[in-house]
């Protein structure tokens, strides 16, 4: 378990001219609907508590209007909280003065936007350089760093093009390179891949995971797409109406949904694709030599061929080839049946 990088405590956001006035009634349990109909204020975030682990990908998921974009904008304070604290490395972001906030945004966070938000009047090189030029870094140094990231995202040769000459996927690579160029600890990705078509999206997801292996950034990733969340997220938080309804890893979300909302959300997910062997493992026991052997980190789907040729189940080994337990054939059939309903 890594240390906590971002800690969100009792965070409330009420949109409206007089938001402070209603904070205590919201804390006492006034509902979102009541606040809206009686006082014409919108409850954006309702008592959010969340710890984001260092160097992990934290996915925040919810339908539109659930407050996920509002939440991510509290990390770099593009939106001011009504109440509560957000700390990064133990420092309370909500207390920063203007200058310190600018410094924080310049050095600690990078952000990628749903509709790219590139600067249309600047070429790709200048777009990627933007964060560096804001910091008034040495010009040749910042060009070098920008070129490094342009190469990393596979856009070498496009430095002098303008954003609208690039396809959506390429534009978002520029967005990613721009966010990474300042080498921030935290990457905020607001529905970064939602505007891309499915093939490109998968491609970008793979690229992000590949980059993350070496970069080890703390990534906060907003999405409304559960498949994307399950693929990327080390942990997944689900928001509904500004409330955090569940926070857990993929298995917990799938197998133990906290309420009906989450259950509906995960209903259509292809479980055998997402669930790994380790989640249904019976630890210990004896290795049955007549059975095939699989890895704990394989998905159930990947093990289906092995199941077909097995007698009674599977032997399971860990990364170091040590036998850790077994999975019976009946258990897998059970899961297959459940994922059908």
């Amino acid at each position: 378990m890594n240390k906590t990088k971002i800690k969100i405590t009792n965070l409330y956001k009420i949109f409206g001219n007089n938001s402070k006035k209603y904070i205590s009634s919201v804390r006492d349990g006034m509902s979102k609907d009541e606040l809206l109909s009686k006082y014409n204020h919108v409850l954006g975030l309702d008592n959010i508590n969340l710890n984001v682990e260092d160097q992990s990908i934290q996915v925040v998921m919810g339908l539109s209007g659930s407050g996920k974009s509002t939440l991510i904008r509290h990390i770099n304070r593009l939106i001011e909280p009504t109440e509560g604290t957000v700390t990064v490395d133990g420092e309370d972001i909500t207390k920063l003065n203007k200058m310190d906030l600018l410094e924080f945004r310049r050095n600690k966070t990078g952000m990628v936007f749903q509709r790219f938000a590139l600067f249309p009047h600047q070429n790709i090189l200048d777009n990627v350089q933007f964060g560096l030029s804001i910091k008034n870094l040495d010009k040749s140094d910042s060009i070098e760093r920008a070129m490094y990231w342009i190469e990393k995202v596979g856009l070498t040769g496009f430095e002098n093009k303008f954003p609208n000459q690039l396809s959506g996927g390429m534009q978002q690579r520029v967005g990613l390179a721009r966010a990474l160029a300042t080498d921030p600890d935290i990457l905020l990705m607001d529905e970064a891949f939602s505007a891309l078509d499915p093939l490109i999206r998968t491609d970008m997801q793979d690229q992000l995971l590949e980059l993350q292996k070496n970069l080890k950034k703390t990534i906060m990733f907003i999405t409304h797409d559960l498949d994307e969340a399950l693929k990327l997220g080390d942990r997944i938080s689900i928001l509904n109406g500004g409330k955090l309804v569940q926070d857990g890893n993929a298995e917990e979300i799938l197998l133990k949904p906290a309420d009906q909302y989450v259950a509906n959300f995960v209903k259509d997910v292809n479980r055998i694709k997402v669930l790994k062997i380790k989640t249904i493992l019976d630890q210990g026991g004896e290795r049955a030599n007549s059975n095939p052997t699989v890895n704990v980190n394989d998905s159930i789907e990947n093990c289906l061929p092995a199941i077909l040729e097995s007698q009674s189940g599977l032997n399971v080994i860990d990364e170091k080839n040590n036998f850790v337990g077994s999975v019976s054939k009946n258990k897998i059939i059970d899961i297959l049946q459940k994922s059908k309903d």
């Binding site: 593009l78 945004r105 936007f113 938000a117 600067f119 009047h121 933007f130 303008f162 609208n164």
Partner: protein, 279 residues
């Protein structure tokens, strides 16, 4: 009663401070006179060449450049060269001053809704009030001559550049601004690196409008002693010299077309990054 007291107070004010205020405008006057003399005293082929180079650089159109050459030669042939140069100099100075004053005011307006609410009605008055009305206090204060003419032209011509600077900056995509914020850009960085460059095509449309309105004002300004193509037009009206009025009128039209086409195609070239076909 009301009229008398206001008029009296203003007359006293202008007697008291007229000279001081006139002195404030002295540098502008020197510059204007210097510019006019430069245009009138340099050999005309040199001036034509300079204008044609500017036309070509601005528009990148060979047809427009040839058209300008013909128009300028005709102006010279019909003996309107000196008046035309006077007009060009006053339009030039007015445009520079309008840009210098108008863009900062436009930026201030885009920055605060309160400033916008305060300035917009003033601009409305400046654009709709008959020009003769504000010529009266200007003449009372500064007498007849170049400076009051200059002021009258600027008052009439500056509103579009202010409005369009404000509009251009307000129209900048909110998401792009948010991105600039997210990377820690401060206000000045946002203004000079994002807002102004993206507003530039709109601002340029404002500059174009300002030049056109300044040209339209030239005839009226000639009533208070501004030299240039307006004076022969005025003379032609009072004496019913139809040909003289027509020729000078056509010279104004020719200038207007040259200024308009050049500034428009220059403004369009600024927008090229939007069209997506750079090569």
């Amino acid at each position: 009663m009301f009229r008398k007291s206001v008029d009296g107070a203003y007359r006293n004010f202008s007697r008291e401070y007229g000279d001081t205020i006139e002195a404030v405008f002295d540098p502008v006057l020197y510059f204007l006179v210097w510019f006019e003399k430069l245009l009138q005293n340099s050999p005309w082929p040199l001036i034509i060449l300079a204008i044609l180079i500017l036309v070509y650089l601005g528009s990148r159109s060979i047809y427009l450049t040839i058209g300008s050459l013909i128009a300028l030669l005709l102006i010279g042939y019909f003996g309107m060269w000196e008046d035309t140069m006077s007009t060009v100099s006053i339009i030039g100075v007015c445009t520079f001053m309008s840009i210098g004053l108008g863009i900062p005011i436009g930026i201030a307006m885009s920055n605060s809704d309160r400033a916008r609410a305060a300035i917009t009605p003033i601009l409305d008055v400046m654009q709709t009030m008959p020009s003769f009305v504000y010529l009266i206090p200007v003449v009372m204060l500064l007498g007849i001559g170049k400076i009051p003419g200059l002021l009258a032209v600027i008052i009439y011509a500056i509103p579009p550049i202010i409005r369009l600077t404000d509009l251009g900056i307000r129209e900048v995509d909110k998401e792009v601004l948010e991105a600039a914020d997210a990377f820690g850009a401060n206000k000045a960085q946002k203004l000079f690196r994002v807002q102004l460059p993206l507003a530039l095509p709109t601002i340029f449309a404002g500059i174009n409008q300002t030049i056109m309105m300044a040209l339209a004002m030239v005839v009226i300004a000639s009533m208070i002693g501004v030299k240039g193509l307006g004076q022969p037009v005025l003379k032609a009206i009072t004496n019913q010299y139809f040909t003289m009025g027509l020729l000078n009128g056509l010279a104004i039209v020719a200038l207007a077309i040259i200024f308009d086409r050049v500034s428009q195609s220059f403004g369009k070239r600024l927008q090229q990054h939007r069209s997506g076909s750079r090569e």
